[in-house]
């Protein structure tokens, strides 16, 4: 019995149990199988897999052959190396805590069993994704988590916006998967296999090769890397496929925490890191990754500052942080990217769950209708601040170490792109604390502003301020545990310059390699100091705007109405897609394909030819006049013409 198999299959079993028995038998106990399963996975991860990985043991085993067709042969197999181990820790930890949190958050919901079934299924797919030893299994998990994301976003079945958001997430992801799939094809065509080990072992051999792709001669590693990166863009919500993530907040908050912050959306980073031997071969691809990451990071941050939906702000923040991770990968600092992934999982999950706790209490998402919640929800407030500080990269908190490492890597990488993205990252370092603390100040400080109109959740009842109370223990305990993570998780990767051992990066070095940086200690301190200072300024500015001069934001918004609107409307990207892709497709389907091609052209021929024959038939029967002499004339004429013909031909 291979113990690690329990990790993915326990949640799967929980899913099966829940889907079969949940509705009728388990009902409000439906969380038990799921929670037990995921905690079981967590325990196996911590007790068995992690120590093995720490000991440098790599597991690469096939379970069974999945598909076999000619030379195409893929298996269901598992690769457990340090990278997988990190991911397993992240996934099982966050998943366990969020499962537990959900017991409280979802309590009394009519789709209780369904929720936990989906969560378990998601956990299964996510674990399969990170544990697979080949691209097919990666793809399996990849699409699987997307599916669960679809289910969970659209969890509130009767809410149209939820259904729309789920669908959008799935379809937008499909765009990315389209590229990813083709990338997988290219890998198979190039290497003849889809298993990581042989592919990466031979990756160096394709350096510099060109291939004809749809008429263009392109560099083979670049092509493969960029195609794979398409998938990452979709899954990790990067420009231009980021549009689904904010909408995905329609799902229950634990879902946002688990799927849209801690785990699923980081699959893209995991994949890029996993494929680093390929990415490393192509400078173009690396730069693309870095620039897309940096751009998304900055872009999402600028949107976040004007949004009012508590979860959307955090969602844009997620986008932004994911961008940072890509930025790290793009400059070759994969370990830094994964490190940020790891710390981000804690503080972002915490942010979401804390936000969930708030929403649970006030039943609205709009921060303009909150305020002054500090006194009612002290624990929530505390963990929220911890998470925010971590996200803002305040020294001592997890986020600081990872973020700093990314910014330093960007600065220290030898390319000009590195310098550019460093500047962008620094800007993000300013914006992140600003919008995070804007959120905190608007939510927890000041006076309560809500209650003057119907809540968006449709619960119907008016919630007077004094009704607010702290969430139950089953929710706050996971919050506290995550808060511990948000503070301390980063301590495993304290850089040498601050007296740490950078254990995290060393642990991952066998998989991700070690980037070469040029830079002095002085520079490193400088960069670190700059970003920290800037972060503090960000917080201060937020405090100034939203605690001191609360009238100022409105005035500024009115003054720079154009910029404000662009930011508030998310750069009109959704509208742009609607206008360039969705609408034309619908229009073509309806007005061209149905109305013209099918109805007029093809059916025109299909019905027209028989119709013409029918008309001709009606005409032709007219020659049958009923007059015997006419018949005789036809006979005679037939004879005559035949004779004439024969005469002519002779």
């Amino acid at each position: 019995m291979k113990l690690y198999l329990l990790i993915p299959f326990l949640p799967l079993a929980a899913f099966v149990i829940n889907i079969l028995l949940g509705k009728e038998v388990l009902r409000d106990k439906a969380h038990w199988p799921s929670v037990l399963a995921v905690v079981g996975s967590f325990i196996v991860t911590i007790t068995s897999v992690l120590p093995q990985a720490m000991a440098g043991k790599v597991i690469n085993e096939d379970l069974y052959t999945w598909m076999l067709s000619g030379t195409f042969n893929v298996t269901v197999g598992f690769l457990i190396d340090p990278l997988t181990a990190v991911m397993l820790v992240v996934v099982t930890t966050c998943a366990s805590l969020i499962h537990i949190y959900s017991v409280g958050y979802m309590h009394g919901d009519k789709g209780y069993y369904r929720f936990f079934a989906y969560l378990s299924l998601f956990t299964f797919f996510m674990l399969m994704l990170v544990m697979g030893n080949n691209f097919m299994q990666l793809y399996f998990g990849w699409e699987g988590v997307g599916l669960c994301s679809y289910f969970l976003i659209g969890y509130y079945l009767n809410k149209k916006s939820a259904a729309d958001a789920g669908k959008k997430a799935f379809i937008v992801n499909r765009f990315g998967d389209f590229g990813f799939g083709i990338g997988v094809f290219m890998i198979f065509l190039t290497f003849g296999t889809l298993h990581y080990v042989p592919v990466f072992a031979n990756a160096a051999g394709i350096a510099g090769q060109t291939v004809n792709f749809l008429g263009w001669n392109v560099d083979l590693p670049t092509l493969i890397a960029l195609l794979l990166f398409c998938g990452a863009i979709g899954k990790s919500a990067q420009i231009p496929l980021h549009v689904w993530l904010p909408d995905a907040m329609e799902g229950p908050t634990p879902v946002s925490a688990l799927i849209h912050a801690a785990t699923m959306v980081t699959a893209g980073i995991f994949m890029v890191a996993r494929c680093n031997p390929i990415f490393n071969l192509s400078e173009v691809a690396m730069n693309t990754v870095a620039i897309v990451g940096a751009a998304t990071s900055l872009f999402a941050a600028t949107i976040a500052i004007t949004q009012n939906d508590i979860k959307r702000i955090i969602a844009y923040s997620t986008c932004s942080h994911l961008g940072l991770m890509f930025l790290a990968c793009g400059v070759g600092a994969y370990a830094a990217g994964i490190f940020h992934l790891y710390t981000h999982a804690f503080f972002k999950a915490l942010l979401f769950l804390a936000a969930g706790s708030v929403i649970h209490a006030v039943h609205t998402n709009d921060i303009q209708e909150m305020g002054g919640l500090k006194k009612y929800m002290p624990i929530t407030y505390a963990v929220f601040v911890i998470a925010a500080l971590s996200a803002a990269g305040i020294p001592g908190f997890s986020g600081f170490f990872s973020k700093d490492e990314i910014i330093w890597s960007a600065y220290a990488s030898h390319s000009s792109v590195g310098k550019l993205v460093w500047l962008m990252a620094t800007a993000v370092a300013f914006l992140t604390p600003f919008y995070t603390f804007r959120l905190i100040f608007l939510t927890f400080h000041g006076k309560y502003r809500g209650g003057h109109h119907e809540e968006s959740h449709g619960h119907g009842a008016h919630h007077k301020e004094h009704h607010f109370h702290e969430s139950p223990k089953i929710m706050t305990i996971p919050l506290i545990l995550l808060a511990v993570g948000a503070v301390a998780a980063g301590w495993v990767g304290i850089p040498p310059i601050l007296g740490g051992g950078a254990h995290f990066a060393k642990f991952l070095e066998p998989v991700l390699g070690h980037p070469e940086f040029h830079g002095t200690h002085a520079e490193e301190f400088g960069v670190m100091g700059l970003s920290t200072t800037i972060a503090l300024i960000g917080i201060a500015l937020a405090a100034f705007f939203y605690l001191k001069r609360t009238d100022l934001p409105k005035k500024l918004a009115e003054k720079f109405i154009g910029i404000y609107k662009i930011s508030y409307n998310k750069y009109y990207i959704d509208e742009l897609y609607d206008f360039t892709i969705v609408k034309p497709t619908m229009w073509i389907a309806d007005k061209v394909l149905v109305a013209i091609t099918d109805a007029k052209i093809i059916e025109g021929v299909v019905n027209g030819v028989p119709g013409a024959i029918g008309k001709f038939s009606e005409k032709l029967r007219k020659i049958q006049t009923g007059l015997a002499q006419h018949y005789g004339i036809f006979m005679a004429a037939g004879a005559f013409f035949t004779i004439a013909l024969v005469l002519l031909l002779q």
Binding site: S617, L620, Q624, A628, H630, Y631, F634, M635, G638, V646
Partner: protein, 475 residues
């Protein structure tokens, strides 16, 4: 002078048939129940059919030939006559023309066909043809009190006589050119004198084609057919659509393959457009018909077009396929007409295709039978109609007329529409009028025979194909 009676063995069936026809006339005077006459006729025809065995030979100095070819056609005629009589028994009573002459006329007409099939000489051919035609004219107008029947008879008669004149003129030219009317002698004369490029010969060929084309209802000599088929008593329509057509093909095959074999190229070149035209006119005009008899008339024209492909191949295999086709056509067409006749009852015409609406609900068995016949006429396996077409197409492709077959199959696909229309009315519409079926043991038997034949030949065609092959090879 030593008068020696020629060898009469080859003629025994014809003689017996003549005797039978005469007996039928005679006993008609004695017997009131006309059903008995019908039964006697059927029994008689059965006996005549038995006498076919061992009747082969050539007599009257080559003027009369009884070989496999003629035997096969005679078999078709017998099937035709027996089935026609079976479906007539009740029908002519319903039409109030229950006279004994009806049966004897059918028998005489059949004798004419038999003579045509066996004719080795143009004179004999002409006599047979006229005997057949004259009897059929009368039969077409047999419902004397019905104006449509009169009209049918008149048109048939006028145009038939007109076509006979062409036939005779053609014969006279051939006679003038070759000095003989014997088919084999004509052939050898043409060969010896190298007349293959002679225009007069071609003229006679054209005249013969006009006459035979009239009999088989090939376009543009088909125009009598729809009117006559519609107007004639339905049983006679069934009879005419099979018997005279088959007889026409019999003489077409024999005259052209024996006498004019050396000008093959020419008559094939003439028949090809005729065949295409026939398929086109038959199938296309049938699409817009609302009278089922008329529709089947056009269908019958179209089928002549397919069968012509067998002649066009101008080889034994083609002839065999043509014969096979006609045999199968006899079953499926008479079967279809039998269903039509069932719908005819006192005060109800039952020949409009709208009368078939909802038949599957009121009379499911009749509908199923009609369905089978319709699909067979379309040529959908596993019915006999498919075998017939397949054989024809195989022969034609083998002779190199792939393009012609492509045209034929496309027309056959078009034809599916009007056959399907009947099925559609029967199965997919709700009944509007309550249709009374006039069922009789005779019709039941006829339907049983035809449907079994259609299905059995459809699945196990070996016997028929084999027979047709042997028959065609021996000539």
């Amino acid at each position: 002078m030593n008068f020696q009676l020629p060898d009469l063995t080859p003629m025994i069936p014809e003689l017996l048939m003549t005797a039978l026809a005469l007996i039928v006339i005679l006993i008609d005077l004695l017997i009131k129940k006309k059903e008995v006459i019908a039964l006697i006729s059927i029994a008689g025809v059965a006996v005549v059919a038995l006498s076919l065995v061992g009747s082969s030979g050539i007599t009257f100095g080559g003027m009369y030939i009884s070989d496999g070819y003629s035997t096969f056609f005679k078999l078709i005629f017998f099937i035709n006559v027996i089935l026609t009589i079976l479906i007539s028994i009740k029908y002519i009573a319903v039409e109030k023309v229950n006279y004994g002459e009806y049966y004897s006329l059918i028998l005489f007409s059949t004798i004419g066909m038999m003579i045509m099939a066996s004719a080795g000489d143009l004179i004999v051919l002409y006599l047979g043809l006229e005997l057949m035609a004259l009897s059929t004219y009368v039969l077409a107008g047999f419902i004397r009190h019905d104006i449509k029947s009169n009209e049918a008879a008149l048109k048939y008669f006028l145009l038939g006589a007109f076509s006979s004149a062409f036939l005779l003129y053609g014969i006279s030219i051939v006679y003038g050119l070759t000095g003989t009317t014997d088919l084999k002698a004509i052939a050898s004369f043409i060969n010896e004198r190298g007349l293959t490029d002679n225009f007069s010969l071609l003229l006679s060929v054209i005249f013969l084609i006009v006459a035979f084309g009239f009999k088989i209802a090939a376009a543009p000599f088909h125009m009598w057919a729809p009117d006559v088929y519609e107007g004639a008593p339905t049983s006679i329509t069934a009879f005419m659509s099979v018997g005279p057509k088959a007889a026409g093909f019999a003489v077409l095959g024999r005259v052209f393959m024996v006498a004019f074999v050396s000008v093959k190229v020419d008559w094939v070149a003439i028949l090809i457009p005729i065949s295409i035209l026939t398929m086109a006119v038959g199938n296309i005009v049938a699409l817009s018909q609302t009278n089922i008899k008329r529709m089947l008339a056009y269908s019958s024209i179209a089928h002549a077009g397919y069968a012509l492909l067998g002649i066009i191949t101008a080889n034994n295999e083609g002839l065999a396929s043509m014969m096979n086709y006609l045999m199968i056509y006899a079953f499926m067409n008479i079967g279809a007409f039998a269903v039509i006749i069932m719908l005819r009852s006192e005060g109800f015409k039952g020949d409009s295709i709208y009368d078939y609406e909802g038949l599957a609900k009121t009379h499911p068995l009749a509908a199923v039978l009609m369905l089978i016949f319709m699909f067979s006429l379309t040529g959908i396996p596993p019915t006999a109609g498919f075998i017939g077409k397949l054989y024809i197409f195989m022969a034609a492709i083998n002779a190199g007329y792939t393009w012609l077959v492509v045209i034929a199959v496309i027309f056959s696909a078009i034809s599916a529409y009007f056959y399907l229309r009947i099925i559609m009315y029967m199965y997919m519409k709700e009944p509007k009028t309550s249709v009374q079926l006039s069922v009789s043991p005779g019709i039941a038997l006829a339907l049983a025979i035809t449907v079994i034949a259609v299905l059995v030949i459809g699945v196990l065609p070996s016997a028929v194909i084999n027979f047709a092959r042997i028959a065609a090879s021996g000539f």
